[in-house]
């Protein structure tokens, strides 16, 4: 499973890097799959409302009304029909890619099981909505879809008279069947939307609106496709004939030829097995859960920064429980915490300059405390020499940090780059632990912990609390959002940056070329004990 997951991730990393050559990071479609799915949903809704004005439910009328839409009013309703159709296909495409990517990024296990599980009914509902939509056109494809669907349902021993008998001959078909299908075609997507709302409940600030440039590009390409290759019907349905050759929509109906030809026990068995696997996947095997962030009330003044920065709504602000004169305190729900450390990076008490008291911030990760992080920084600094020394802070999901040029660069690993309080950069530079700092991690927009890169960028730019101190020289800081595959770029950046740093005259403590002494700090869990 792990090998498969890593293969999927590599495919997405490769695709993302390729597409990044043309798209700016915030517009990269691979990084906006869920938002694109929402965009397609809204296009389908808007075009569907327009089409509903002209659609007529009835055995004869359904096809005729769709023909009117397609031919008589091709410039408006016809284009809307094509947009409706192609956006539906786009929705399936982006939705399936979104699922695969989340799988590849291992964002479906542990506390994220909830989003995975609630996504499953959405997938089913999207397919049901699409299939009922094809039914309504009542052309040859609709006839095929209706008959294969009902025959498949009839293979379940739960219905009375075979539903497929409704399509035995033209005389047996009734208009009210189309009314029922129309109802399903509207109701099912609405139910899917409600489930989507639940799906996003454990995600803070979900990305449901793609950036404007991507919206424009998607709309334009859909519009051009609709004009160049409009969606058309495939001749009226005729129950006295087998549809014969049909242009199947392979986004929605890839299983239909198999459903039609294989025994019901095989196809229902396969569908049920697939469903069971999908449901069980978050526990196959379960994620070895890192310990959740812990709040140290003695150092928490209820400032809300960790609450604002948590990407998974794992922190709430509760009433003060220790009698201190603050309005609130941070409360972590371990069931929701993914231990990304963004909260520790946001804590104003997380300053490595603290020496008189132990470095215990208001909130911290027990498995990688900021005290240990400071030790790591100092150990890394001790390995550096020369005039272009660099400390590289890198996240666990980014490029592997082994094999950096010895003496020139030394790494300090983090769970996510957002775990790094800006004061650590200040600490490195003002204490002359290195001549420069490189921050690296996932690709821009592709942060595994969702907001690690964005918060870091904004903290450094002094746009989001906690700010990087004003006097910290920005020319000694570089960022490399290059992802797992960006080793070459990172090494090139380190080489160039080191040369640049060597050319910058030293000042302050570096002037005296003071080297730090590695310092032992008691691990946080021992302090707690």
């Amino acid at each position: 499973m792990d090998l498969f997951r890593r293969s999927v991730r590599s495919l997405f990393d490769g695709g993302e890097a390729l597409i990044a050559k043309a798209f700016p990071p915030q517009w990269n479609p691979i990084l906006n799959l869920s938002a694109l799915s929402f965009l397609f949903y809204w296009i389908i809704t808007a075009s569907g409302i327009y089409l509903y004005i002209f659609f007529d439910t009835g055995v004869e009328q359904a096809y005729q009304s769709v023909e009117y839409i397609t031919n008589e009013q091709w410039y408006a309703a016809g284009v809307m029909r094509s947009m409706h159709r192609y956006a539906s296909d786009g929705l399936v495409l982006t939705m399936l890619l979104h699922i695969l990517r989340e799988f590849g990024l291992d964002r479906y296990r542990g506390v994220r099981w909830f989003s995975w599980l609630t996504g499953i009914p959405v997938v089913i509902f999207v397919f049901v909505a699409g299939i009922t939509g094809y039914w309504l056109v009542w052309d040859k494809l609709a006839q095929y879809v209706a008959i294969v669907s009902t025959e498949w349902l009839d293979r379940l021993p739960i219905f009375g008279a075979p539903i497929a008998r409704n399509f035995l001959s033209p005389e047996m078909l009734e208009s009210r069947f189309f009314t029922f299908m129309m109802f399903l075609h509207i109701a099912v997507p609405l139910i899917a939307l409600v489930i989507l709302w639940v799906h996003l409940q454990r995600v803070a600030k979900p990305k449901i609106n793609p950036p404007q440039g991507l919206v424009l590009g998607t709309l334009a390409s859909l519009l051009i496709l609709s004009l160049v290759h409009p969606a058309v019907s495939q001749g009226p349905a005729n129950l006295s004939e087998v549809p014969g050759r049909i242009g199947l929509d392979w986004f929605y109906l890839p299983a239909y030829p198999a459903i039609e030809s294989l025994p019901g026990s095989t196809t229902w068995g396969a569908a049920f097995t697939l469903l069971v696997i999908a449901v069980a996947l978050p526990w196959m095997p379960p994620l070895k859960k890192p310990r959740a962030a812990v709040v140290d009330l003695a150092n928490c003044n209820g400032c809300r920064r960790c609450y604002e920065d948590c990407p998974y709504n794992a922190i709430t602000m509760g009433p003060r429980s220790d009698g201190m004169p603050f309005a609130a305190e941070a409360v972590v729900d371990p069931g929701l915490c993914v231990a990304c450390g963004l909260c520790a990076g946001a804590c104003p008490r997380a300053t490595p300059f603290r020496r008189r008291t132990e470095l215990i911030p208001g909130i911290d990760l027990p498995d990688l405390t900021l005290a240990r992080l400071r030790d790591g920084v100092e150990r890394a600094a001790a390995r550096l020499e020369g005039n272009g020394r660099i400390i590289v802070f890198g996240c666990a999901s980014g490029v592997p940090l082994d094999g950096l040029p010895a003496g020139t660069a030394a790494s300090v690993p983090l769970n996510c780059i957002g775990q790094l309080p800006p004061s650590f950069i200040d600490y490195v530079l003002s204490k002359c632990l290195a001549d420069g700092v490189v921050l690296t991690g996932c690709t821009e927009g592709g942060c595994r912990a969702r907001y690690g890169i964005e918060w870091t960028k904004r903290r450094i730019a002094r746009e989001r609390d906690p700010y990087l101190r004003k006097g910290v020289p920005h020319e000694r800081i570089r960022t490399a959002w290059v992802g797992r595959l960006g080793r070459k770029q990172l090494l090139a950046l380190i080489g160039d940056f080191s040369a640049e740093l060597a050319a910058i005259p030293r000042s302050g403590p570096c002037d005296a070329a003071i080297r730090p002494r590695p310092r032992q700090t008691q691990p946080r869990d021992q302090v707690d004990a």
Binding site: P162, G217, L225, S240, G244, L248
Partner: protein
């Protein structure tokens, strides 16, 4: 220049995705049944005769019943199974004994069958026995038909319309 290249790259990406969506939304074409074939669908939902005929209750039996449940006759609910056959050019292609549905076996027997056959002239015969008789059939219909390619012949059954209906 580099910016222009990026826009060209974006346009190519959108074009590629649009082409993929446009193509796979209706291609490759799927052929449901082989060229030159036709289809016969036989389906019905029909209740067989009751296994036992109704009989008059004796005065003693009526007296034993609660006053609100007293009736002159008693009828068993269970129906007989249905024996259905379909013959194509004198060859049996479907032969089944269909059990009545329902927990008490009093519901209609049902079937829904599809047969793909070569188009052309065929003699088609449908038979059904829905009574307790041992030999022969209660309903039979035979017809010689020219089935054109892709034609779908429906064989339904309605006792009130006289038996099998070919359409």
């Amino acid at each position: 220049m580099r910016e222009a290249q990026r826009y060209v790259g974006q346009a190519l990406f959108y074009a590629l995705v649009a082409c993929a969506i446009g193509y796979f939304s209706s291609r490759p074409v799927y052929t449901q049944i082989p060229a030159g074939s036709a289809q016969i669908k036989m389906s019905f939902s029909h209740g067989g005769a009751k296994k036992q005929a109704c009989r008059k209750l004796t005065p003693a039996e009526i007296a034993k019943l609660k006053p609100s449940e007293r009736r002159p006759n008693t009828c068993a609910r269970e129906r007989t199974s249905i024996h259905a056959q379909l013959l194509l050019d004198e060859h049996v292609i479907y032969d089944a004994v269909l059990m009545p549905t329902g927990l008490a076996g009093d519901g209609p027997a049902r079937t829904y069958q599809k047969f793909i056959i070569p188009a052309g002239r065929h003699t088609i015969e449908a038979r059904m026995r829905d009574s307790a008789r041992v030999d022969g059939f209660d309903y039979e219909k035979r017809a010689t038909l020219d089935l054109v390619p892709w034609q779908s012949l429906a064989i339904d059954f309605r006792a009130d319309a006289g038996g099998f209906i070919f359409r």
